[in-house]
Each structure stands twice: as structure tokens, then as C-alpha cells.
């Protein structure tokens, strides 16, 4: 094999998306690239289909891995967190994190696994009251300037979690309000924008609690445009320490013209 870079190395015709799909399915990406790919999985069904094809192709490899019986304590813990009859909220809170509230629940939604009942409830709360609270006009009114953009941010299961409206004239993103939002538990929501296959770029820590507007610094506005994907992850207070999402991604959605 030649040591020099080979122009035709058996990879001609391999698209960037296909390469990313196989890299992700194989599990060979670093942390930031994985997060970026996971955000695309949510917002891009064609990409997700590619990844799923590779996952299915590779999955028989798992048969070469010896099964291992987990200790009974694991099932006990799982049952306590899932099927146990009506756990007291206090007990749940004590188990996972030293705080309670809405964001505490979000933090429990590991990765893209979003609690269906909670998600459904939020969707009702948020979508039934677009622009309520601080915005008596109902919908956000377009200001003079560029066209308004909207995104419905949904969890991995496709259920809408949040409605966001972006006004390019003011550089503000407004979220439909969420009741009882509590960013305690040492966690805060952080907003990201993803263009194409670029890594997520932070738009800053946000407060989506009361439909308040969140202003995006001018120098970060460049990628916030139609087709880009907005995503929200749960981060330590102060925001992601690494510059890419480190906590669970709770919702993503593509920006479209309002």
C-alpha cells in the first residue's frame, strides 16, 4: 500500500453524510462530533435513515459479545425509577439530584430519551399558550427588518416541546412559556444553532420560563437562518464548559419562515 495520499482510495462517491452516518453508527466519533451528529439525527430524517441502515448492518456483531448477567440490584433500581407505583416526588428528587422542579425532570431525560408523559404535558402547556404572559398579542409580532423565523423544537420522539420565534430585526428569540420552569439543580438550558454538518454553536444560556425574549449577541447571529437547526441542551450553571453540548439534548427543531 502506498504511503502517499491516494486520490482514488475506494472512497470515491462517498458523500459527507454517508461518511458521517457510518462513523456515528460505528461509534468512532469524538464527543463533540457525536453530539453534532445526534442533533442531526433528530432534525434530519434522511440522515437518520442512513445511520439506522448502518446500525442494522453492524448489529449482528453484538452476537460476538458474551452476555453478562447484571446483578439483581440493577433491576430493582430500574423498577424504582419506572414502574414502581406512584413514587413520591421527594423520593425521586432525592435519588437523582439535590433539587426538584421542571429542569430536574429534564435532566433525567437521558440523552435523547424523553419522558413521553412529561413531553406530552409540556407540549400542551406550551403550544396551547403561544406568546402568552409577556406577549399579550398572542404571537410574536414581526418587527421591521428580516422575515421572522420559527422553529418547533421537538424531542427524539417527534413530540413538540417548545415553540421558538426568532426576529432577525431585534436578534431576539422568544419561547412559548413554560409553567413552573425551574433551572435549579445546578443546571441551565443552553441554546445552540447547527448549520449543516457544522458543530453546534452556542447562542447562550436561555431562560424559557416565562416567554421572555432572549437576545442573541450580534456576533453570533450569522448562522441563525432558515434551515439551520436550533437545539437546547441541559448544561451546568454558566453554560457548557467545553463549547459544545455536554448534557442531554432535550429538543431540536429546524428554523423555517414564519
Amino acid at each position: 500500500m502506498s504511503a502517499a495520499p491516494t486520490p482514488d482510495n475506494g472512497l470515491s462517491g462517498l458523500t459527507e453524510d454517508e461518511a458521517l452516518a457510518m462513523d456515528y453508527a460505528l461509534g468512532a466519533l469524538g464527543r463533540a462530533e457525536r453530539k453534532a451528529a445526534e442533533l442531526r439525527l433528530v432534525g434530519d430524517p434522511a440522515f437518520r435513515a442512513r445511520v439506522e441502515q448502518w446500525q442494522t448492518l453492524l448489529s449482528p456483531l453484538d452476537e460476538a459479545t458474551a452476555p453478562a448477567t447484571p446483578p439483581a440490584s440493577v433491576w430493582a433500581a430500574i423498577a424504582a425509577e419506572t414502574t414502581a407505583p406512584a413514587p413520591k416526588p421527594a423520593a425521586v428528587a432525592a435519588k437523582a439530584a439535590p433539587a426538584a422542579g421542571w429542569w430536574h425532570n429534564l435532566a433525567l431525560w437521558r440523552g435523547l430519551g424523553i419522558g413521553a408523559p412529561v413531553a406530552a404535558a409540556l407540549a400542551v402547556v406550551m403550544l396551547a399558550q403561544p406568546g402568552a404572559g409577556n406577549d399579550p398579542g398572542g404571537d410574536v409580532v414581526a418587527m421591521a427588518g428580516g422575515p421572522q423565523l420559527r422553529a418547533t423544537l421537538a424531542g427524539a420522539d417527534g413530540k413538540p416541546l417548545l415553540a421558538a420565534a426568532f426576529d432577525p430585526a431585534s436578534g431576539q428569540v422568544r419561547f412559548a412559556p413554560v409553567a413552573q420552569s425551574d433551572a435549579g439543580a445546578g443546571k441551565v438550558p443552553e441554546l445552540w444553532v447547527i448549520e449543516g454538518s457544522n458543530p453546534p454553536r452556542s447562542l447562550g444560556i436561555i431562560d424559557i420560563s416565562a416567554g421572555t425574549a432572549h437576545s442573541i449577541p450580534r456576533d453570533r447571529l450569522a448562522g441563525v437562518k432558515q434551515g439551520a437547526i436550533l437545539a437546547i441542551s441541559i448544561e451546568p450553571i454558566g453554560g457548557s464548559p467545553t463549547g459544545t453540548p455536554t448534557g442531554p439534548v432535550i429538543a431540536t427543531g429546524a428554523l423555517t419562515a414564519a
Binding site: 461509534g27 469524538g30 446500525q55 453484538d62 446483578p71 430500574i78 423498577a79 433525567l108
Partner: protein
């Protein structure tokens, strides 16, 4: 129990889990947890951590059961994929550290298909093992290292002392050939 009969039964269980059926969830756990724990353990290596990941995975499965679509994946592939991804996430969240002792480096060419052969059971697994065995050994070994150990391209390239671009092309070429092989043997 044949693979497809098992898949059909697991799919039925998941449908009940989606409706909050605790008994179905426990049966599903009993049928699948040893496989998933094996997959996780192989990647994260440490037992306590693997148990944490397993717990996280089944809580996710409970919550996401309604999103399982039998038309898109078999139930065990779906569950094992979630397990692998959580295990890899756990690995990536660790502080950087050497993945293998130095003396274990440069062993890619020495690995062959043999470690898998004895355990391979299903038709699909045999076909995949065969497709892998037809690849250049280094390419097959790199694919195995990524899949089973959860190493990144960067880590594996450093371990093998080759440029990352070279390693990526080994793996991607190998995967494409493997897929071509599988498609050809299907036809």
C-alpha cells in the same frame, strides 16, 4: 426460539411497555438485559459504571418504548443500539486517558476473525463475519476496535501510529466493502 419469533415476541412486549405495562417491561428486561449488559461492559469495562449505564438504558427504553418502530429495526437491535450509544457517551465523558497500555499498541494486524467465530450464531452474524473476513485484516481489525471498544478514530490512529486520515479511510473503505459483500451475497 428462532430469531424472528424472538423479535416478534419482543416487539409485542415493547408495545405493552409503551402502554405502561410493568409486567411486560420486566419480561423484556429478563430477555434482553444480559445481552445489553455484555455490550455495555465490553465498552466501559468497569462493572459499576456498566451497571449505571444499564440502568440508564432501561429507563430510556421504558420511556421511549412508544417510539419503537418494528418496521425500522428489530427490537433487540434497537435496544442494543441505545445501550451501545449510552456506553460510548459514558466513555466520551471520561477525562482523557490512555485507552490501552503502550505494549498493546500495534496489534491491529494480529487480530483476525477468530475471536468472533466460535460465538457466532445467527445467519446474519455469520454473513457479517464472513464479509469482515474478506477485508484486509487491518481494516477489519480497525472496524472491530471501534465497534467493540468504542475507541475514536483519533485514539485508534494514535495507538496504531498512523495518520487519522489513513485510519478513517481504512475503516470507511472496509465498511463500504463489507456492505457491498453483504448486498452481493443477498442477491
Amino acid at each position: 426460539m428462532s430469531a424472528s419469533a424472538g423479535a416478534a415476541e419482543l416487539s409485542r412486549l415493547l408495545a405493552r411497555v409503551a402502554e405502561g405495562d410493568a409486567a411486560a417491561f420486566q419480561i423484556f428486561y429478563d430477555r434482553t438485559s444480559a445481552k445489553l449488559f455484555g455490550v455495555i461492559l465490553r465498552i466501559v469495562m468497569e462493572r459499576q459504571e456498566a451497571e449505571d449505564v444499564l440502568q440508564e438504558v432501561y429507563v430510556t427504553l421504558w420511556r421511549k418504548a412508544a417510539t419503537f418502530d418494528p418496521a425500522r429495526a428489530s427490537p433487540i437491535t434497537w435496544a442494543a443500539t441505545i445501550a451501545r450509544n449510552r456506553a460510548i457517551d459514558r466513555l466520551r465523558a471520561r477525562p482523557a486517558r490512555p485507552m490501552v497500555p503502550v505494549e498493546a499498541a500495534h496489534d491491529l494486524a494480529d487480530e483476525g476473525p477468530a475471536p468472533d467465530a466460535g460465538l457466532v450464531a445467527s445467519h446474519d452474524a455469520r454473513r457479517l463475519a464472513e464479509a469482515l473476513s474478506l477485508l484486509e485484516p487491518r481494516h477489519a481489525a480497525a472496524i472491530r476496535a471501534c465497534y467493540f471498544e468504542g475507541v475514536t478514530y483519533d485514539e485508534l490512529a494514535a495507538r496504531e501510529n498512523v495518520p487519522v486520515g489513513t485510519l478513517k479511510s481504512w475503516v470507511r473503505r472496509g465498511l463500504l466493502r463489507m456492505r457491498g459483500q453483504l448486498e452481493a451475497s443477498e442477491a
